[in-house]
Structures are given as C-alpha cells and as structure tokens.
Amino acid sequence: MKGVVFTEFLEMVESRFSADMVDDIIEDAGIKSGGAYTAVGSYPFAEMVALVTALSQRSGLEPQALIYAFGHYLFGRFALLYPYSIQGCSCAFMVLSNIEKHIHQEVQKLYPDAQLPHIEVLSSDERCLSLLYSSPRCLAPLASGLIQGALDHFGEQGRIVAEPLNDDGSKVRFVVELV
C-alpha cells in the first residue's frame, strides 16, 4: 500500500484523537516499519490492518466506521493536495465518473506501481449514479467515505447505498442518489 495512505491515516488519527494516540497504536500494532512512513514509500497492507485494529481497540469504535471516516477525511486531503485531479469537475458525480480514466491516471503518474481499485460506472443520470467497486483489499467502507467526502466537497446532499455482490466484499455496488 502506498505510503501516502499511511501518512494521511496517522495525520487523521493525530488531528481527530491525539499525537499520543498515534504513538500508542503504533506501539500496539507492533509493526515492522515502526510507523516511520514516508508518502513516497510502499508498505505492507497488513500494517494498515494492524493500525486500524489498534485504533479500534483504543477508541472503542468499529473498524468499519474508522475506515469510513478515513475515506471521508482522505477526499478532503486529496482535493487539497492534488487539486488538478478534480479540476473542471463541478459536482461529485463528475468526480466519481472520472475516477477511473482521470484520477487514477494522475495517480499512476506519481506512483507507477500503485495497485488501485477498479471503479466502473454502471449507470448514471442527473440524480442517480451507480458504481461497481472491485478491489482485492475489500475496502468498500473507505470508498463509501470517499464518496461522502466528494458530496460534501461540492456541498451536495446524497444517500449512499452499498450493496456487496460477494461474500468477501471485494465487489460492491454503490448507488448514490442525490436528495
């Protein structure tokens, strides 16, 4: 997993909880890197799982809820760090429809070895957008948070329904309906 996800995660923990919480979950997780992440590096996905688990235990919050919150936080950060990725988009649907051909293309320029989820637009109209999420990392809650982050970014109100298409959650259908 790309280092930028780890650094952003730890920054979220620091801002939402505390710097001490960061120290604690790194300690708890007992990870090999010792939590010395750099955005341009790559680290095992298992370390992220261990960090989230440790945070869940410390905070008493569900891992799924934490991942969702991280997704929401991440969209705002991405919008800030990589504004050109969403340049020319005037609404959340535009951003979401362009993930595959535009945003992921930008990501590949910075991180040629990044393993990205597959986001396919199943159907779309003015009010409703249907997406298919597929990733072996099964991070649908993260995607859900990102979608909410996009809606909030453009000041839009919407309902997100996630419908797993298999048992492990590696394939999930999202229906986003503007209200």
Partner: protein
C-alpha cells in the same frame, strides 16, 4: 516535582524521542527513495537519449538507403528513356528505308497487282510507325517527360479541323459525323497539339467501332466558380457503335488492353491510344470518362479546366506553301545530303531526283560535310543528326562558325522522334526539321520552304546559282 509528575514527564520525553526518531527514519527513507527515483530517472533519460541517438542513426541510414534507391530509380528511368531513344532511332532507320523505297516504288510503273502489294507494304509500314510513335509517346509520358504548351488556341477551330479530317473516313464507312459547333470562337490557353491528339484518337476509335448510325461531337464551356477567367470544359464524343460491357469498360484505358482480345484481330490497333489519351488528359489536369452500353454505343467525355484568353493580336500571316507537283529540272539549288547510311543516301537522292533536284552532293559524315561546305557554294543541306566521326549537330555548329558569303539552309533529317531533338537541332542552328521516314510530300514542302527563304534573302550566291541554272 512529585514522583508521579516525574514519571509523566519521563513518559512524555520518551514519546517525543520516539516521534523524533520516527520522523528522522521516515525522512531518511524518503531521501533514499528519492535518490532511487533520481537514479531511475537518470537511467531512463540516458536510455531515452541513447534510443533517440540510435533512431537518429537509423533515420540517417534509411535516408541514405532511400536516396540511393532514388538515384538508382532515376538512373534506371534515364537508362530506359535513353534506350527508347536509341531503339526509336534503330527501328526508324530501317523503317525509313522500307517506307521510302515503297513510296518510290509506288511512283514507278506497276501492274495493278504490284500496285496493291506496294500499297499494302506502305500501309503496314505506316501502322508500324504509328505503333512506334505511340510507344514512344506513352513511355515519354510515363517518364514524366511530357511538357505541355500553354499557348492560345481556338478550341472550336481546332475541333472544326479535326472533325473535317475525319469526315471522309466516316463517309467511307457510311457514317455521319454531327459536330454541334457553338457559334463564335473559344480562345483558350493550352496545348493544341495534345488536344488534337486526344480528339483524333477518340474520333478514330468511334469510327472504327461504329457500323451504322454516326458520331456526335459536342463541347461544353462554362465559367469555373470563384475564378476570373477559368473555364470548365467538356468535350463529348458519342457514337452509335458496338459499345462495351461493364467488364470491358473497366480496362479500356489500360495500356495494351483492348475491350476484348479479339478486337485486335477484328479492328486492329494496339490498345495504346486510349491509355495515351487518358494520360494526356491527366497531364492537362483533366480526365476522360466513358459510359457505354453494349450494342448501343459509347460516349467518351474529356473534362478539363483552362484559362480563357483573348484572340492573339495580328499574328504575322505565314504564307501557306502549297504542295506543288515536282517540277523536274527547275531546282535552282546546290543541295548536299549528309547521311551515313547508304540505303538512306540512295533513298534521299532518289526522292530529291523525283522533286527535280539533280547533282546532289553527298557527305558520309559531319566532317566531310563541313569540309565540303567550307569550300563554298552549298546552299541547302539535308543533315542527318546521328553520324559517325562528327554528328549533324556538331557539324551544323561548325558550319555556322564558318565565314561564308552565304550560310546554307540546313534541314535536320533524323529518325529521332522526340520533340527535344527538334529543339536541339534549332539550338545548333538548323533551320528546319524533317523526321524520318521522309515522304515525298514533306520533303517537297521543306525544300520549297528552304528555297523560298533563300531567294527571299536575296543572297548573292543563291542568286548566282539561280542565274547559272537559268542560263544552263
């Protein structure tokens, strides 16, 4: 400070130390990664520039190969046209002999059967000559050596003369030619000779392939939109002949292809005419279309664009030299024939004899001609272009350098058919040009032209020669 406070402070210090260590490790790792990236970037750049240099070399090599291939192709094309020019000469020289002798023979006393045989001989020779001319024409066009003139001509007058030329032939075949001539004139810029060639060919074909009914010739002229003086022209030659099937139509413009291979047996011809017409039309920036219905007739239309021009102002009228019948014994000229081929020597002398020019001087090559001319008294020379030792062009140039009381009138006599030869002759200082085989008629016209030019000049030696002849 209590013990508890001290423990807390200790814990805080430890955390800070760990955070500091974490940040430091992360920074170092980032630096290592950046170095790796920099190196990878450098390698990639280096590889790219190597590839670019290699590509450059490959392009250079390909360019060299291409220019070499181009040079070879150009040389091959040049060799081909040179070969054609030589072959043309080589074929025309003996053909010249055959046709000339046949003509002489036709003027002698013959039985009816012999007369017919000689006529066939002449006909075959003439069509062989036409074929050679066609092949030369085609190869010249293919070699891109065709240069079209841009001179004013009157389209309607041109068509008048071409149609008139074919009227007797059509009548002979029981056909009528309807030429829907618009009133007035249409002065255009272009190559009248080539247009005449196209029209003649299409008309000749129309007559050949029509057994009843007739041929209609129409011409359309309309302004080309968005231009000041450009005209869009279409010349249509429609016949009520045998027509062609769709399949035949497809290959009618291909060289050496006729609509049907049995055509050659039934109708003669080489199948080169239309190929030449099409290429000529294309060289004029136009095209030829054909539509035909089997058993109903064909229609060929020539489309092209030309600039309209005003009638040329008061051209000096060229006196028309009528072909006068040979007048034996009245030739007032001292004539020399410079020709290396003995058959041709014999032929020219016989033809001249028929025209009344006796005591003709002979030179076997250019050097002999030059020597004889420098002694003075030669008024007219029939000069072959290709001769051993000194060719006709060099001899002419040398003669023009001589200080003579009167420069002779020089008529180029050559088996070379190309227009460039005509130009080269002119540049060398020759006055006239006769391409072999020389017919009695054309020789007569050229001789009369030369003789009248010489007498117009009122040159002392020419006048002297005339006096001598008159007093003799």
């Amino acid at each position: 400070m209590t013990e508890e406070e001290q423990a807390q402070l200790q814990d805080q210090l430890l955390r800070y130390q760990k955070r500091y260590q974490r940040e430091k490790t992360a920074r170092k790792e980032a630096e290592v990664l950046l170095e790796q990236r920099s190196r990878a970037l450098y390698d990639a750049n280096f590889e790219l520039s190597t590839v670019a240099a290699q590509l450059e070399k490959i392009v250079e090599w390909r360019m060299a190969q291409l220019s070499e291939a181009l040079l070879k192709a150009e040389m091959a094309a040049k060799a081909k046209s040179e070969f054609l020019a030589v072959m043309s000469h080589e074929i025309r020289t003996p053909l010249n002999g055959v046709l000339g002798m046949a003509e002489l023979l036709s003027h002698s006393t013959l039985t009816a059967e012999q007369g017919e045989q000689v006529a066939t001989l002449q006909e075959c020779g003439t069509s062989l000559l036409a074929l050679i001319n066609d092949i030369l024409d085609l190869s010249k066009i293919d070699a891109g050596k065709l240069t079209l003139e841009q001179r004013p001509y009157n389209l309607y007058a041109l068509l008048d003369s071409v149609v008139n030329l074919f009227v007797p032939k059509a009548m002979e075949a029981g056909l009528h030619i309807e030429w829907q001539r618009p009133l007035g004139n249409a002065w255009l810029l272009g190559d009248a000779t080539r247009l005449r060639q196209i029209t003649s060919n299409l008309l000749s074909n129309a007559i050949k392939f029509t057994h009843q009914g007739g041929i209609t010739v129409t011409v359309g002229i309309e302004p080309l939109e968005d231009t000041f003086d450009m005209k869009r022209l279409v010349l249509v030659i429609r016949d009520t002949g045998i027509g062609m099937t769709q399949e035949q139509l497809g290959k009618v413009f291909t060289a050496f292809e006729q609509a049907d291979s049995t055509t050659t047996r039934r109708y003669g011809g080489t199948g080169l005419g239309l190929a030449i017409c099409r290429r000529l039309a294309e060289a004029m920036g136009g095209r030829i279309d054909v539509s035909s219905e089997h058993g109903v007739g064909s229609s060929f239309s020539v489309h092209w664009v030309a600039t309209e021009t005003s009638a040329p102002v008061a051209e000096v009228p060229v006196p028309v030299l009528a072909v006068e019948p040979p007048r034996p014994g009245v030739a007032p000229l001292s004539v020399m024939v410079a020709e290396d081929n003995t058959v041709n020597q014999k032929l020219i002398i016989k033809l001249l004899d028929k025209l009344g020019y006796r005591d003709v001087l002979l030179a076997g090559n250019g050097r002999q001609a030059l020597e004889r001319v420098s002694q003075g008294g030669v008024e007219l020379i029939l000069m072959d272009m290709q001769m051993p030792e000194m060719d006709g062009l060099d001899a002419t140039r040398a003669i023009r350098q001589l200080e003579l009381g009167c420069q002779p009138h020089i008529i180029a006599l050559t088996a070379n058919a190309f227009d460039e030869d005509r130009e080269r002759c002119q540049q060398a200082g020759m006055n006239d040009f006769l391409s072999k085989p020389v017919s009695l008629e054309r020789l007569s016209v050229a001789m009369q032209r030369g003789s009248s030019l010489l007498s117009n000049q009122q040159l002392p030696s020419a006048a002297g020669a005339a006096d001598t002849q008159a007093s003799a």
